[in-house]
């Protein structure tokens, strides 16, 4: 074996030592995470109740929290200020020309409210509500949407699953492959596709640079 070939062999040996676990098929550089550690990270709440924290709250309690911590954006009754989201109302509008997609009219699950509030609200001070506050605010939002009638109904991990939202059955999984089958086609027209071309909807305002005021609604 020549000197340089030996050098190459040594180099390969060195690399395989450095790579170590790769030879076993796994790098295994993740550390095991303990249940206690994970509990601090996992705040998801599912429709079947998995993830619901221990706690209790009523709409009456929630109203107080909502008025001090939420109403400045969402309005006193969840009607939404400026471009902030509307949280209540809109029942029966989903087939109308101006559908109003709120918790009561559109959202499928009450767990979504709690999961979202727990992750993201109050906006600017996320993850600051206690579990009791979470139940109370959720109860108030449900009351604003006429889903909970009794302001003293105790919402907690035991009663939560009794709450159903009206539009739960209003969703289905992506079916474009079948419902929009007409968009898969081999006969796309190449000439004489239209007898006349009607150009519609020339808008007059040329708004070249969007400014803050013409920005999207806050989602």
């Amino acid at each position: 074996m020549s000197k340089s070939a030996k050098a190459v062999c040594t180099l390969i040996a060195a690399i395989s030592i450095l790579a170590g676990p790769a030879t076993a098929g796994k790098l295994g550089l993740g550390q095991s995470a303990t249940p206690v550690e994970i509990a601090a990270w996992d705040i998801d709440i599912r429709p079947d109740g998995q993830g619901l924290p221990k706690g209790n709250g009523t709409a009456a309690q929630g109203e107080e929290i909502f008025q001090t911590r939420c109403a400045m954006c969402h309005g006193e009754f969840g009607e939404g200020k400026d471009k902030w989201p509307v949280l209540a109302g809109g029942a029966g509008t989903l087939k109308e020309d101006r559908p109003d997609k709120t918790i009561g009219s559109y959202w499928p699950y009450a767990s979504t409210i709690m999961d979202y509030v727990r992750h993201a609200m109050p906006f600017g001070n996320a993850q600051s509500l206690t579990n009791d506050d979470l139940y109370a605010v959720t109860a108030y939002l449900l009351q604003l949407n006429d889903i909970i009638k009794d302001p003293n109904f105790a919402l907690n991990e035991k009663t939560f699953l009794s709450v159903k939202l009206p539009n739960e059955g209003g969703f289905y999984e992506d079916d474009r492959d079948t419902s929009e089958k007409q968009f898969w086609r081999k006969d796309a027209c190449m000439k004489d596709c239209k007898k006349s071309v009607e150009v519609t909807g020339h808008a007059s305002v040329v708004d070249v640079t969007p400014d803050g005021k013409s920005g999207p609604k806050v989602d």
Binding site: G170, V199, D207
Partner: protein
């Protein structure tokens, strides 16, 4: 030796003066291109001073600038920027659009990649950032960024498109904005990172794990559910974008890349993946990113991005300077795979001819297309129509609206129409 362009090549291949795509391959064809209606410098009232001796301008005689540690675009290109559409109350909640009309090729510079933030760009210290994989796995794992950088990586040129891109297309009036400020919630980058399947294999998937909930580390802990099948097939935990570490606004230090699927699933600032037997039904897969249809019911989990194309030049707000042979150019993409064909029309869709696809044509990546158009000075309506390798043909707007109504908000992918008037001004029309 390339064939030479001749006047025979000016025979139209479709109505309105569209030429056969072969002319683009010939020598001697000089193409005009649409210009910005208000060039940024002219708008500022400055006419560049003409050097007295163009053969020997000052920069050919005087020493230039020194080296820079990180280069920036020329000051003459300062007008090429993302346009921001944030709510004035909440600067960190909104979007910024990629200026598609100002870019060429297929890659989006990292600094011009579109943004959609729900609550600003988190200032993440990578040393304090962790990726936790837990739930229905044999061994829950926690990764540091440093450890992820040691895994074998893969790289894909992939477009990312926000599910809400182009949503102004549902409006009854065609919005008059530059193409990038209307359709620019889509960008294309080289994303490099660790195949998620490697990390999930190390954690050991429980057979009941059909879904995963991915969560970001922004100030709303944005979470969304994704089928495990997709994660195992081609998703990556990306650490690099266009060769450098991902920019903060695009997910630094790591983000999920779900090739061909709507933007929200490409979770930025990725910090947690929980394996589950069902979706979490988070806000961003129920209240948002679902499509309300005329039936009053809504489609959910509409992950894959339908084929789409648009002309970036000419495009809304630009103008043509008189009859000539113009280059039409644009972008096409599909979440289902490669673009198979793009056709263009200059007569509002009455007739079509194929555009030239520029190499490379890659799956789930921008494809650049070009065509030649002899404009006679008469009003015209320009369109492009993409077909992907599954045979999906980008629909006309009327067909899309007939199918979905106007309240789905997400996944607008209809054919885009640009009207050219007799003065050469280009505007957005429905036709």
């Amino acid at each position: 030796m390339r064939e030479t362009f001749s006047t025979d090549d000016l025979q139209p291949a479709a109505g309105g003066g569209l030429l056969h795509r072969r002319v683009l391959l010939k020598a001697g064809l000089i193409l005009a291109s649409a210009g910005a209606a208000q060039p940024a410098l002219a708008a500022a009232g400055k006419k560049p001073a003409v050097e007295s001796d163009l053969a020997h301008p000052s920069w050919t005689r005087e020493p230039g600038q020194p080296f820079t540690n990180y280069g920036l675009p020329s000051k003459h290109e300062a007008a090429v920027m993302r346009s921001v559409g944030a709510n004035h109350d909440v600067p960190g909640n909104g979007v910024s659009w990629t200026p598609l009309e100002s870019l060429e090729g297929i890659l989006t510079p990292a600094g011009l990649h579109f943004e959609r933030h729900h609550n600003g760009v988190p200032a993440i210290d990578p040393a304090q950032h962790r990726l936790v994989i837990h739930g229905l796995v044999k061994q829950p794992l926690m990764f540091t960024v440093e450890s992820l950088l040691r895994y074998p990586m893969t790289s894909h040129l992939i477009f990312v498109e926000c599910g809400g891109n182009s949503n102004a297309g549902w409006h009854q009036e065609p919005i008059q904005r530059p193409v990038g400020s209307f359709h620019g919630l889509v960008s294309c980058s080289e994303w490099t990172g660790v195949p998620l399947s490697i990390l999930l294999d190390e954690a050991g998937l429980d057979p009941k794990a059909l879904w995963a909930v991915a969560e970001g580390a922004d100030a709303m802990l944005m979470n969304v559910s994704i089928p495990v099948e997709k994660l195992m097939k081609d998703c990556i935990v990306a650490l690099y974008q266009n060769g450098e570490r991902i920019r903060p606004e695009n997910g630094y230090p790591l983000r999920l890349i779900a090739p061909g699927w709507e933007g929200v699933l490409n979770v930025k600032w990725l910090r947690r993946i929980q394996l589950t037997d069902q979706p979490v039904m988070a806000r961003n897969e129920t209240a948002k990113y679902t499509e309300l249809l005329p039936s009053g019911r809504s489609r959910m989990f509409t992950f894959v991005v339908d084929a789409k194309s648009l002309l970036t030049s000419p495009s809304c707000g630009q103008s043509l300077s008189g009859p000539s042979v113009y280059e039409l150019k644009g972008l096409a993409w599909s979440g289902r795979g490669r673009i198979a064909m793009v056709e263009v029309s200059a007569d509002g869709g009455a007739s079509w001819t194929r555009a030239q696809l520029q190499d490379p044509v890659l799956p789930r990546c921008f494809t650049r297309f070009r065509a030649a158009w002899k404009w006679d000075g008469q009003p015209a309506v320009l369109k492009s129509r993409a077909t992907d390798e599954t045979g999906y043909v980008q629909p006309e707007r009327a067909a899309l609206v007939a199918e979905r109504g106007r309240h789905g908000y997400f996944h607008y992918n209809a054919i885009v129409s640009w009207g050219v008037d007799a003065e050469g001004k280009v505007s957005h029309v429905y036709a």
